[in-house]
């Protein structure tokens, strides 16, 4: 196995285009898979030195998260959490400090685990992913990026270079909730919501649940239910009863499908309530 450590994006794209090459970011997933023999790349292309992929950039209208931004950098960023409370909360409860210091945004998304903690808040916030290959660049809504467990729309030779978010407006709010058995654990269920409140009513909303289907799932029925409404106790109770019908969880060692449905309702209800009360700026 070869190991490459390019310093520019162009060089990285050339190396990733080679057959059998695999991208190495934080390694918190890939190193384990290689050790277990589930993955046997011919070459590793480390992103650790590629400056174009690093860090958070606040633009006038948008915010760009470079693919190799770590979870710790998201948590520590001075402004990001104020702009996107759902993203901050997801990063805060992600793994342990030791994992957050290694794991990257791009690695988490490209891993396409159904229980990713970053995918639901980023989809709810309307994020887009920038993809690049030697030949072309393109942008996709993150909601269209996931195909199934560990499967994405990334083509061979393509890199995820960044995640792009629109800056929130003054009436935009968001929230994220994750339920686990112990502190450092993958989600049994996680739910993210992002909404715009106009005079107490929901003008626009996205609700996304993770770990309850092959990919993160938009709760479209819940979005329709609350659109145009004030989030009062009765409506929230109805959300709690109905959100579980919209997901397709499995039973596994962590939880039964039935419990996951119930949790989806509870978390969705609470996330909406949290977001509605939270100030963005």
């Amino acid at each position: 196995m070869q190991y490459h450590r390019p310093t520019t994006l162009a060089e990285a794209l050339r190396l990733v285009a080679e057959p059998g090459a695999r991208v190495l970011a934080g390694g918190t997933d890939l190193v384990l898979r290689m050790r277990d023999g589930r993955e046997r790349p011919d070459a590793l292309v480390s992103l650790g030195r590629v400056a174009e992929l690093a860090g958070v950039t606040l633009g006038a209208g948008s915010v760009r998260l470079g693919a190799r931004t770590t979870l710790a950098e998201l948590v520590e960023h001075e402004e990001l959490g104020r702009l996107f409370p759902a993203l901050l909360e997801a990063a805060r409860v992600f793994g342990s400090m030791l994992v957050r210091n290694l794991a990257t945004v791009g690695g988490n998304l490209c891993n396409a685990s159904p229980c990713s903690d970053l995918a639901p808040p980023l989809i709810a916030l309307g994020a887009r992913v920038e993809l690049a290959s030697r030949e072309a660049r393109r942008e996709l809504p993150l909601g269209d990026f996931f195909v199934g467990p560990r499967e994405t729309r990334l083509a061979p030779g393509e890199l995820l270079t960044a995640v792009v978010l629109d800056r929130p407006g003054p009436r935009d709010r968001s929230a994220f909730l994750k339920h686990t058995r112990v502190t450092v654990d993958l989600a049994l269920v996680n739910v993210a919501v992002a909404l715009e409140l106009d005079r107490g009513k929901v003008a626009r909303v996205r609700a996304v649940a993770g770990a309850v289907g092959p990919t993160p799932l938009r709760l479209l029925g819940i979005e329709a239910l609350v659109a145009g409404q004030a989030l009062g106790p009765e409506l929230l109770a109805e959300v709690g009863r109905r959100a579980g019908d919209e997901v397709k969880p499995i039973s596994d060692v962590r939880a039964s499908a039935e419990y996951r449905r119930m949790l989806t309702g509870v978390l969705c209800k609470r996330a909406l309530a949290t977001a509605a009360a939270a100030e963005v700026s």
């Binding site: 070869q2 390694g27 190193v31 030195r49 342990s96 030791l98 210091n101 290694l102």
Partner: protein, 185 residues
């Protein structure tokens, strides 16, 4: 295919020939013989393998050694800056009785040192969260949290509640072996 790499560990430079799939944990322990860094689960769950990379705590079992090139690695052997004095975190671990078998201790101390470097006055909740990637099978954690509170006090320059108990450790019997091996109950 082996490649020769240069690693900076505890201020020393080592040249080693390693295949790219070897983890930093394996190279530290087996090639550099710095066995203060432990290996527990090998899966990123237990924190026994914690080292600092440019001052940030990471699990060395999830990191390839080749990825550490160009970075400054600190293991428990390098936590104390002077040869015969312990780092305040190490001294307080001993003073508080936060060490039983000692297997989690190097990782626990590095995570504690990292936490205090970022947040000199952590709340109890912040200590628990900061150490949540480091598992201990022996102590029940209470003494570890106490040691971190005392180290926080000491690093801020205030004397810990009973300063006398903290001092014998510094330069004491465990002074030459900060890995915790000399501090079994």
């Amino acid at each position: 295919m082996k490649q020769t790499i240069r690693l900076r560990v505890n201020g020393d430079t080592y040249e080693v020939a390693v295949p790219p799939w070897r983890t930093l944990n394996e190279v530290l322990r087996e090639d550099l013989r710095l066995t203060g860094t432990k290996r527990g689960c090998g899966d990123g769950d237990c924190g026994a393998c914690t080292v600092l990379l440019d001052g940030r705590s990471v699990t060395s079992c999830l990191m390839l050694a080749v990825e550490a090139v160009g970075h400054e690695v600190t293991t428990v052997e390098g936590l104390a800056t002077a040869r015969d004095a312990l780092h305040p975190v190490q001294a307080e671990f001993i003073a508080a009785g936060a060490i039983q078998c000692g297997y989690c201790t190097p990782g626990m101390e590095l995570s504690a040192a990292y936490l205090l470097s970022r947040n000199p006055s952590p709340t109890d909740d912040e200590i628990r969260r900061g150490l949540s990637g480091n598992l201990c099978r022996c102590t029940g954690y209470q003494k570890i949290f106490e040691a971190v509170r005392r180290a926080s006090d000491r690093l801020k320059g205030a004397a810990p509640p009973d300063a006398a108990a903290g001092d014998p450790a510094a330069g004491g019997p465990a002074g030459g072996d900060p890995s915790g091996g000399g501090a079994r109950p």
